[in-house]
Symmetry: C2
Subunit: 454 residues, 2 copies
């Protein structure tokens, strides 16, 4: 029986994360304050520990993974690299399709890869509590898990409408001991102001971010954590691609195309960046490698956005970041891949895209669920809606190979299982889902509101 | 870093299942028909394929696993054996605690281990469709998955109240292409009769079984499948214990105590039986091994039931089986471990218990959720309520070791993740759960109704 799952031993868990900044043509554009000047690092120390800030600004190629973090990683890592033989057969493609499966983590997604080191560095810095925001709850549950691993209490501000409608992720956070509050809440000035205007405020990710940051900024014992977009988050997620490289080495293959779903950028960057290192080093095997970020047509940041300085949140609370953006007040349609509904993108992914080192493609919602269902029927695993985006693009690549006869090696990031997302599949089967094509007028309108800087 | 996860290669997937009948002191008591005579095998051929019936009655020690089944098993098998180091530390026990993790299967539990061969043998026999019943949906989703793997359409009769209240398992079955109907339905005479009496009939497992069997018995192209209790189901589940033995061999250890949740018996039998083979063979390392079935105090079949012939279902539709039973009309309280709410038990587990080869213990609901939450906080994985029963007993064993100083090796079956059961955790945290101690009067009443045979 030919092996279709390539496992690594726990001692093969990488000892260093890979920092793509070391291999970029230009240094990253710095975050700017409201005055248009680069944000002083010390200002960020109110909400982040020093070790995280160092990583955020580092240009070192390899950054050591603390032993304490590797010991938690081994609760579910190394994650398997799987060859989707039955999917290949169903498509009749000569391509070899591989997926890196991140769905067996305690939280069911790739998010704990960064939550664990963030909790560790905060604990090490003497911080006593963590805050964060969460929408559907994927990041909130990951940081709840990670905080528990290091004995750090976690408070999660969960967007009110999700808090009411999605109680299961909330119960998951509580199982790991986190406090979960509907946002806006009475716990912060931001929350109280919002509730004073509207006691039934449904909340928003922007509001929840503001509450979590306000609490962290106001309490010296408390720090803030973020699940995507920032450099240190993408750094931690490179554990995915670094393991995948070892797994391909084991079977003597190398990918021709790498695909990751792309919202804030952490799952795409996590799987793709370590392979970009081979390209930067001039390795022959990586010459023709293509890395493709896959985004929804309804929130087409890289494929339709502007490359400009913009706020990270809807309310203009965060520093300005140079990134592809649809405008910070662009409100994406309500697709089920909640993790991909972000108006901007990681500054690192954005710059690499701008420099032509990575590609991007946008796929419509119905086609992603069609792909996810086909995948489940072939391979068993029911994927999260975010992961379905990468699967759609992988299937499209495999079908191109079928047309041309090329036996390409395709790798995609299966970022999480869909067991918390069955309501979305339900609506898909009932014919209730919409494609939400490129919302051109809304994007054009919000791009008029980009802050004038730089 | 000492390894805490023991993996096997795909080629290590066992080539044979282990049949405990070969090592039992007495031959199993045969199933009886309504006339008190052993059921003729040909009568069962209306709903089962010959290969399954042969397994049901076989006394061969080793039964080959078809290559086609091993090829599907490898989508998630071998499953990991994990040492729960952080749980050991949290308890301060000198014991070594290991768990076999079945939660990474496509359906999230151990049930596909039998669903896959059942679908295969039916396909091989030329059967075109499968039926089954399901309560909360764990078995229904596993057979939906397995049917899809072999291109067999599956129809699932889902207890009406679960169909309405638990839509996510239903969506899961539909993702794998199964038809799911609320039971009672208009599709069978049983269903139509029930609906004629009460159009809002909430349904029951007994009714759903009757509908699934009626359809299979009435259509030559259609067979019936069952997820626990019967000998062939326990046979298939021995893949769990067989892998675990190889994994312990790899690290030079052997368990002193093995614990599995026990409802119909397939998860307990699956992990324990292969180790009983070592005892039967007189292996020294197995001399002191204890295998303990863990059941709920609210449905204490082995610990409080009678060893007698009884019906397998509530309505007296099935043959009579010799087993520990609380009486076929005993209705267990509504605990959240739905998989353990069965009035009887596997005839094989029952006979081994009767012969003193395995032990049993009953644990109350609140203590199981306490154990599951402690486990999640230590090890990350959130366990299904059924699995929490084994965890409770494992923790109790480890605490005994703490008192005595014995460094025992404890193994338990972590049969599934709890991501579909967060509502149960929610109710536990809200203080809404009950312990439902031994329902003595109800059991005594139902034991009065045991059929008079044998």
């Amino acid at each position: 029986m030919e092996a279709t799952r390539i496992d690594l031993e726990q001692n093969d868990i990488p000892t260093h994360w890979y920092n793509v900044v070391a291999d970029m043509k230009n240094p990253p554009a710095p975050p700017l304050g409201p005055d248009g000047q680069p944000v002083a690092p010390e200002r960020m120390l109110a909400i982040f520990p020093g070790a995280i800030l160092e990583q955020e600004m580092s240009a070192e190629r390899w950054i050591p993974i603390p032993q304490e973090v590797r010991e938690i990683y081994r609760l579910w890592r190394p994650s398997p690299l799987v060859r989707a033989v039955r999917l290949e057969q169903a498509l009749g493609t000569p391509a070899k399709i591989f997926y890196k499966f991140e769905g067996c983590s305690p939280a069911g997604s790739h998010k704990p890869n960064s939550a664990v080191p963030q909790a560790f560095y905060n604990k090490q810095a003497g911080i006593k509590r963590l805050t964060t925001e969460t929408g559907a709850g994927q990041w909130g549950s990951s940081i709840a898990f990670a905080g528990q691993m290091f004995g750090l209490p976690v408070r999660v501000y969960m967007v009110n409408v999700s808090y009411q409608q999605k109680p299961f992720r909330r119960s998951m956070m509580q199982t790991w001991g986190a406090e979960v509050y509907a946002s806006p809440s009475q716990l912060t000035q931001t929350g109280r102001d919002a509730l004073a205007k509207d006691p039934n405020n449904p909340g928003s990710l922007g509001l929840a971010i503001s509450e979590a940051v306000e609490e962290a900024a106001g309490r010296p014992d408390t720090n803030y954590t973020l699940g995507s977009v920032l450099n240190h988050v993408l750094l931690h997620q490179t554990i995915i691609g670094l393991e995948a490289k070892k797994q391909f080495d084991k079977i003597g293959l190398y990918p021709d195309v790498i695909l990751g779903p792309c919202g804030g950028g952490s799952s795409f960057g996590g799987i793709a960046f370590p392979f970009l290192a081979d390209q930067a080093a001039g390795e022959k095997r990586a010459e023709k490698l293509r890395c493709v970020a896959v985004e929804p047509t309804s929130c087409p940041t890289l494929t339709q956005g502007a490359y400009a300085y913009d706020y990270g949140d809807a309310s203009g609370f965060t520093p300005l970041m140079k990134m592809y953006t649809l405008g910070h007040d662009f409100m994406p349609p309500g697709i089920h891949a909640g993790g991909l509904r972000y108006h901007g993108d990681s500054p690192l992914v954005s710059q690499l895209f701008h420099e032509g080192r990575v590609e991007a493609v946008a796929v419509p919602q119905l086609a992603t669920f069609e792909a996810g269902t086909l995948f489940a029927k072939a391979e068993g695993v029911i994927p999260a809606p975010e992961s379905c985006h990468a699967i759609r693009a992988a299937i499209d690549e495999a079908l191109k190979c079928k047309a041309t006869g090329e036996p390409k090696v395709i790798l995609f990031n299966l970022t999480g299982h869909g067991h918390f997302d069955m309501a979305a599949y339900d609506r898909y089967f009932a014919g209730e889902l919409d494609d939400y094509a490129y919302p051109r007028e809304a994007v054009e309108a919000s791009l008029q509101h980009l802050p004038q800087v730089g």
